[in-house]
């Protein structure tokens, strides 16, 4: 057993990482589906979208050949509506709420239609939005992820000059660095960021990290307001012996490397265990398999009823041939010569529900042993607790506390997205960015009226 890179041919990589949600090839194909839409009133799909995209409206616009209007309807509500059409777990959001489900008919493929409506607009940078004249206000946004970009776009449309500070060398945040490559390509992520900034009034400064080469005090001094969209960090520690062995990987790092370095450069084991069963765990497991791992086993301490991933995502993993072990919690990682050889898990059983309403897994006393050479940790991500605490920002185990106006305990410093909620969907972060921008604008106008 060994951890190796470059396991496949170029053709195999291309095939394994091709888009799993292919777009409509033709206008006619899109129209067949668009015309199925009932144009619901106060539509359940819209109500199930965190950014409240007026879905029946944009689908109606497709049917009238008003693609520009459709793109505006989507992007006005969600500036990352293009990316969301590829990465949203629509089965539990818009498409899950489509009334056709109640007729036991397939729901409208909203995500594909959304992609159809936005793809050209983004690739060709249609000037859908006009920026109001500058109002002479400046806002610093930390993090060029979905929350930060969304916040910046709303602010800039209102004439505010925005500077985004990003610790990586590319924008997009988790969209660019944290999602399986077969869902959204690096090229698309770059195009999406460029589309957002094509509005004007938004400058992104890369390789600028809060706490490293940037301080909150500087930003507060130099700007009328600061918005923190710093996301969450590395994968949660398992807190078990053997975690330092060679071959124990952080899922976020693993996914990041695939996107940043390219498929052949990323090493993967022969036998891989993935800990956890959220979206990130699925993305890590499927991509490990697609990089050429012979055997991938997902280990989850509860049952399918409690899993955070959707069934659609779980099926992706199953179709890729990943194994699943339910009710197994990592106990210890064993190794030889400093390298991972085995993962020992406690066999669990479900007990009484916890505060989240999910039944708590408890140890049965039995264990199982898996022969593995790689362990990928994907049991949630940890907020930047040290960073926010050092900046005197009120937080709860690292998650920033904000009031109903999206403002932290420090006046003029706003926050939203994963750094506040601990890690949700891209679409939730986009909405958080919109909310933050509106709160900042409101505060600015209140100050102006004082």
């Amino acid at each position: 057993m060994a951890i190796l890179n470059n396991r496949l041919t170029t053709e195999q990589y291309e095939q394994n990482f091709s888009d799993i949600h292919p777009p409509f090839e033709t206008r006619e194909a899109a129209l067949v589906e668009a015309n199925r839409c009932l144009f619901c009133y106060d539509a359940p799909c819209t109500k199930s979208c965190p950014t409240s995209i007026n879905i029946p409206k944009f689908i109606k616009q497709i049917t009238t050949d008003n693609l520009k209007g459709a793109a505006y309807t989507i992007l006005d509500a969600n500036i990352m509506g293009g990316g969301c059409s590829k990465v949203c777990p629509v089965e539990k959001l818009c498409e899950g709420a489509c009334v056709y489900n109640l007729l036991d008919e397939p729901p409208i493929p909203i995500a594909r239609l959304q992609r159809y409506s936005t793809e050209k607009a983004i690739a060709q940078k249609w000037p859908l939005f006009q920026r109001k004249p500058s109002v002479g206000k400046k806002v610093a946004v930390v993090g060029a992820g979905p929350a930060g970009l969304s916040c910046a776009h709303v602010l800039s449309r209102e004439g505010v000059d925005v500077t985004i500070y990003e610790k990586e060398s590319k924008g997009g945040g988790l969209m660019t660095y944290g999602i399986a490559a077969y869902k959204v390509t690096p090229q698309f992520c770059e195009d999406e960021v460029n589309f957002i900034t094509s509005l004007g009034g938004i400058t992104i400064k890369y390789d600028q990290e809060l706490g490293r080469n940037l301080t909150l005090a500087e930003l507060q001094a130099g700007y009328d307001a600061v918005y923190l969209g710093i996301g969450v960090g590395v994968a949660r520690h398992l807190g078990i012996p053997g975690e330092d062995l060679e071959g124990v990987e952080d899922a976020i790092r693993f996914i990041y490397d695939i996107r940043e370095k390219g498929y052949p450069a990323v090493p993967v084991g022969d036998k891989v265990a993935v800990i956890g069963l959220g979206m990130t765990a699925i993305d890590a497991a499927t991509q490990a398999k697609r990089l050429g791992a012979k055997e991938v086993t997902i280990v989850y301490r509860r049952t399918q009823a409690e899993m955070p991933s959707t069934e659609v995502e779980l099926n992706l993993a199953k179709l890729d041939g990943c194994n699943l072990i339910w009710l197994a919690s990592p106990k210890e990682i064993l190794g030889e010569n400093g390298r991972v050889t085995q993962l020992i898990c406690n066999v669990m059983e479900l007990s009484v529900p916890d505060t989240s309403g999910r039944r708590t897994p408890v140890e049965t006393g039995e264990t199982i042993t898996l022969d593995v050479d790689m362990v990928i940790k994907a049991a949630g991500q940890i907020p930047y607790e040290e960073l926010v605490t050092n900046n005197q920002l009120t937080n709860w185990y690292g998650k920033l506390a904000i009031n109903e106006h999206c403002e932290t305990n420090i006046p003029g410093v706003f926050a939203g997205g994963d750094c506040v909620n601990g890690g949700k969907e891209v679409v939730d972060a986009v909405q958080a960015g919109k909310d933050g921008a509106r709160a900042i604008l409101k505060k600015m106008s209140e100050r102006a009226n004082e």
Partner: protein, 422 residues
């Protein structure tokens, strides 16, 4: 198995389905294919003076992804030489003697020309003649087609010429491009026509190309008014048919129904409103002759279910049910009911009623699904909610009479009963 055969003034056909006078019937090749497929008869594309057609000829109206809801054409009568048409008609009659062969005619406007044409056509062995008083384009400028059908006196005169000569049954085809089809219908009956058929196409402009800004169909930068047909015109045709079926003069002769018939259901409706045979064109131009299978099969099954042994058991059966508005029963009242088990919460009933009707549907907010219920006191029983509901039988209209007795508007007024107060 019901008996679908019809006898239209002695013109027999194994089923009531004839192909209307149009491109599908302009030559032997098509007609033989139609007969092989099972069509009961054809009305051969109009013969008359020599014409020349243009390109393009058709344009259509699509609706919500469905192609050719309505079809528009600017094609004229047959542009093939008369002798070839006549020879082919004779050959078709010989090969399929059990099918109805009616020939559509539009002679130049003289008695002699009509007599000459009729004699030539009768020599083919055709079973009947149909007078084209309806073509709305091209021929009208020459004083033919709709120009005849729009003037009852001219129509009557031409019918009289025809009847002097014809020895086989004559059907006069009416144009819908008039305020009422009844005056020309009556004049034709008074002139001696053996039967009527309707409707011909309705003058139309199907649309304007938003790139070239020239309407359709496009002919070298220009367009002309065309004749509209297909499913879109069916309700208009049914109304005109009913007026002919109800008029004391025109109802004396059999009627061949035409206008957007695509399915056996459409055909049954035309027959219930007085048509003895029905003619089809647009549906075959879209799908080919093969649709005859279900046209016959569906009608047959429906007749069996209803206990109708022959088509004559139901032809005209619905005619008396269309009455005058002032004879309608004002005490009849229905209110909508939403079956909550079937409701899919699309809200279409709500927004239709709220924005455009009587605010008789209550919305109870839910995430993501709202609940909709009827406010019975506000519901006027208009049907709109039921019509827009995408689920069959989810919304039903429940009878809640305002009074036991039949009460019409005249009586209502005579008694001085109260009008609405809001």
């Amino acid at each position: 198995m019901a008996d679908l055969s019809t006898n239209f003034l002695g013109i027999k056909s194994p089923n009531p389905y004839w192909l209307a006078s149009a491109p599908p019937t302009d030559k032997k090749y098509n007609v033989l294919r139609a007969f092989e497929a099972g069509w009961g008869g054809v009305v051969w594309k109009t013969l008359g003076s020599q014409v020349k057609n243009v390109s393009s000829r058709y344009s259509a109206v699509d609706y919500n992804g469905t192609k050719v809801m309505g079809l528009n054409n600017i094609e004229l009568i047959s542009d093939r030489p008369l002798d070839i048409n006549l020879r082919e008609i004779a050959e078709c009659v010989r090969e399929f003697p059990d099918r109805a062969m009616v020939v559509s005619l539009m002679a130049d406007n003289t008695r002699e020309k009509w007599h000459e044409l009729i004699a030539q056509v009768e020599d083919t062995g055709a079973h009947g003649l149909e007078l084209n008083f309806g073509c709305p384009h091209g021929m009208t400028e020459r004083g033919m087609g709709a120009a005849v059908g729009q003037d009852p006196e001219i129509a009557k005169m031409v019918v009289e010429w025809v009847m002097e000569k014809a020895t086989i049954p004559v059907i006069t085809k009416l144009t819908p491009n008039v305020h009422s089809v009844v005056p020309t219908g009556r004049a034709s009956v008074e002139g001696g026509t053996n039967a009527l058929s309707l409707i011909n196409t309705i003058q139309s402009v199907t649309g304007v190309d938003l790139n070239t800004l020239v309407p359709n169909p496009y002919v070298a930068g220009k367009s002309v008014y065309g004749g509209y047909c297909g499913p879109a015109v069916k309700p208009i045709a049914l109304k005109m048919l009913t007026t002919i079926a109800q008029d004391p003069v025109t109802s004396r002769v059999p009627i061949s129904g035409i206008g957007g018939i695509s399915t056996w259901k459409d055909a049954a409706e035309f027959m219930l409103l007085g048509a003895t045979s029905v003619q089809v064109c647009t549906a075959v131009m879209k799908h080919g002759f093969r649709i005859i299978d279900d046209l016959c099969d569906g009608l047959n099954n429906w007749m069996d279910e209803k206990g109708f042994k022959t088509v004559y058991d139901f032809i005209g059966k619905s005619v008396p049910t269309i009455t005058h508005w002032e004879d309608l029963d004002i005490n009849y009242h229905i209110v909508a009911n939403i079956n909550q088990d079937k409701c899919i919460h699309c809200g279409l009933c709500y927004i239709a009623c709220e924005d455009t009707s009587h605010q008789a549907i209550n919305l109870t907010y839910g995430k993501p699904y709202n609940t909709y219920s009827i406010i019975e006191n506000e519901c006027v029983g208009c049907n709109l909610c039921k019509l827009v509901c995408p689920v069959d039988d989810c919304i039903t209209m429940v009878e809640q009479r305002k009074g036991d007795e039949y009460l019409n508007w005249k009586e209502f007024q005579r008694r001085g009963l109260p009008l609405n107060d809001h």
